[in-house]
Symmetry: C2
Subunit: 215 residues, 2 copies
């Protein structure tokens, strides 16, 4: 385990940022945070550096660290990038996944469907993440898989929203089936294409939501 307080603080801050505790552009006051966490400024500063390097905050020299919630444009860009990363994983996974990998993917897919039948959104959500993570690993490229995992993590909070769309979960399951069969057949192009679409549509749903809110 990680007994460094700075890292624990970084994790906590990350959670707080994700949960929208901070406004966009808000300055993260070192002294206040130090008081809140009952530590000195030093571990706080380290934690802030972590946020900055992950892109969740921006540092302006001699000014401070400001949290940067991604706006609609950047979010769309991130979803688009996620779609391309997943497509890349799918392309490689189609060639490289073992039968065992495919079996556990089918398994994860079943658990997704079960969660929908139970109308258990939370479970669907985590099982869906598992489904995708199996594909990342199936690409047999640790570096690429880590990139995908990182972005998946950053988009988690936003992906949740689009599940509320009517019929989205059923449609999503259809897409999963297509993805699963493409991977099973070893069809790299098809796997890439279906995965790209599957993820890209999440960005579009998100876009719709934003647009509807701004009306």
């Amino acid at each position: 385990m990680d007994i460094r307080r700075a890292n624990q603080i970084a994790n906590t801050l990350e959670q707080l940022v994700f949960s929208g505790e901070f406004q966009d552009g808000e300055r993260l006051d070192e002294l206040k945070l130090a008081e809140q966490f009952h530590v000195s400024r030093t571990p706080i500063r380290e934690a802030l550096q972590v946020l900055v390097s992950s892109g969740m905050a921006e540092q302006i020299p001699r000014r401070g660290v400001f949290i940067r919630q991604p706006g609609p444009v950047e979010l769309m860009e991130m979803f688009e990038t996620m779609a391309e990363l997943e497509a890349a994983c799918g392309r490689l996974a189609a060639i490289r996944m073992s039968d065992k990998d495919l079996a556990s993917l089918a398994n994860a897919n079943d658990r997704c469907q079960q969660a929908i039948r139970d109308t258990n959104h939370d479970r669907y959500y985590t099982e869906n993440e598992t489904f995708h993570q199996i594909i990342y690993r199936g690409a047999a490229n640790t570096f690429l898989a880590n990139q995908a995992l990182q972005l998946q993590n950053r988009l988690r909070a936003y992906r949740r929203i689009q599940l509320r769309f009517r019929g989205r979960m059923d449609q999503s399951m259809n897409e999963h089936s297509q993805i699963l069969s493409a991977l099973t057949n070893g069809d790299a192009d098809m796997a890439a294409q279906t995965l790209r679409g599957h993820v890209a549509i999440q960005g579009e749903k998100f876009h719709q939501l934003i647009a509807s809110l701004n009306r």
Copy 2:
């Protein structure tokens, strides 16, 4: 400009790591570095955090920070990921690049060819980077472009090596032509495919080199 010493130190350390100044697994001694840079441990520690978050070093709590030169396997993975990122950029750029963008791309390509005629490897090298960066920007997705730029930066030192292969530069220029025409024609799939191949072959050349050294 950036007047924070810690960041300057991070940049310098980055250069030193790239230039192979440090052995793989070597511990970065905070006190030694503090003496070398004539600063206290504090800015050194900040700089080390930067290296860690960029993946160039690993931090083990209560032990220290150890530099991590990527081995052959990880390098291949990175090249493969780069190939997929560039393919993604190409796919989007084919649809989104303006005529002006295309003109500057053709221009960069010409300068690459000129550099080859002049047998100026260094110039070819930088002009080639420009060529690719224009495509990143052409994707009109800042987030994706930044991902690509980051990885391009990390692979810089290793990409250089493969240029030594006989005929590689000419072949590379042929590939550039194909890429340019695919983008000009707005053929997304072709752009993605040619770019993927163009970058992936660099990884393969690198692999050949490694293999030949280990004989």
